[in-house]
Symmetry: C2
Subunit: 298 residues, 2 copies
Amino acid sequence: MSDEPVKGAEASAYDAATGAMTERLTDDWSIVVRSAHRFERFRSPFQLVEVHDTASFGKLFRLDGHFMTSEKDEFFYHENLVHLAAVTHPQPERALIIGGGDGGSAEELLKHPSMKSVTLCEIDLAVVDVARKYLQNVHRGALDDPRLTLKIEDGFAFVRRATEQYDLIVLDLTDPGGPSTPLYTADFYRTCAARLNPVAAMTLHLASPVAHPARVREGLACLREVFPIVTPYLTSVPLYGGLWMMACASSTLDPKGLFAREVDRRISQRALPHLQYYNGDMHRAALALPNFVRALTA
Amino acid sequence: MSDEPVKGAEASAYDAATGAMTERLTDDWSIVVRSAHRFERFRSPFQLVEVHDTASFGKLFRLDGHFMTSEKDEFFYHENLVHLAAVTHPQPERALIIGGGDGGSAEELLKHPSMKSVTLCEIDLAVVDVARKYLQNVHRGALDDPRLTLKIEDGFAFVRRATEQYDLIVLDLTDPGGPSTPLYTADFYRTCAARLNPVAAMTLHLASPVAHPARVREGLACLREVFPIVTPYLTSVPLYGGLWMMACASSTLDPKGLFAREVDRRISQRALPHLQYYNGDMHRAALALPNFVRALTA
């Protein structure tokens, strides 16, 4: 890690004079959030790591100049990334997270009382370090849960040599472009599929169907090369500019198989705490696709 | 109308040097879209009117420095503002739009084959003029439909002296702050309610449940003073930063009464053309509320 000045395109995403942090959705469409205070801005061996304080989002975490998550909007992303698959699974016991060093996905997985072990494989120790220091309201202690095993290593390498089988694999990755690029391939998905139990699912986020339709289409095509059941679904993430596409991929599990009432029954039976977004109605709502998204994901 | 330079807070929302147009969701959270070309920027007697060309949104229309609509994302707003109520109505024949001078809501209403008359009451002729000139892809000719009657006058005054009864009233207004401020009151809603047929509904947009929770809460409280059935629902509008709350208010009609299959049956029976968003699943999905929105709208 070093605190050297950041140059080039990344630097333009943070204006030290005004505190403006810019996330580009397209060349001419951005989300801008103003930093009230810069807690951290340093280069890890893998990426530029930042933590800022903001009025609208609380503590806000960025990697390579991209918004990752924040105290106030993390639930939009993490609850949706995890629970559609985790609730569809009748009894998830072993889960693997690739990426997700902020601990937000681990927290959601560990809400399920059947969960015996969550392995979190994060390439960048710096992410876990800043999460421990600043993002308590994102991981809520999950990084120190006795059921959590932390592996600091490359996700692809880890999955390739793994021998364990999982009920859930959660790809909680940065967008393609940085260190996560090789993890957006059918090759990687195939390697993950080999690590899934017969009744199991992998979930991941794809992109904005409005700003990045090609990424959504290509992502789903890769998944469909590998998995017989690929279920695209939608959520809204304020820091990502609104609608965001996720997917659940499996050989056996389809979130569409659960009606709202059954989802609510499982939420209640498992006593899932602190759900700010997810409920039975929202499970079904996430699976409903506007006509333009149906066309994109067909 | 004049083309004099614009000063003060409004001016800061458009940077002529870079073309950056800023929409503030909160003091520290904004959407920025870059203008590739400025077609219009002038003061009407009521507000600052702008039309820009943009790569991501096509032609983009602003009032007083706020994004109103665009060629590419107008369907998120207009389809949702109109069809949940219009499809719930068994046979809408007479509709009133307050505001909506861009013609987008009129176009959606006129898709319903039972519709005999749509009255569009817009305070600002300049809005209709720029829509006719630039926003063909928003109104698609609805402004010249023989079933449309255009009134250029204050909406409150129009509704107060009106004697007609309507099946649908659509409040397609700018956010409170500008000329629309008196139209966000229980007083105005009561005046509208008096103009509704026994089987009828009024729809309107409220605000972002994430960025403006107080506005959502106050808006629903005003509606509930007047209408026995107030149904809040959610859509996502890219230009507005994501999740956006709308509501359907009525004495008799509740969009929750329609299952997805019945919505799809009506869409097909009425042969509603060019729906890019709305379908039976999305009707139900719009009515599903995340836990934090349930708490906000309870």
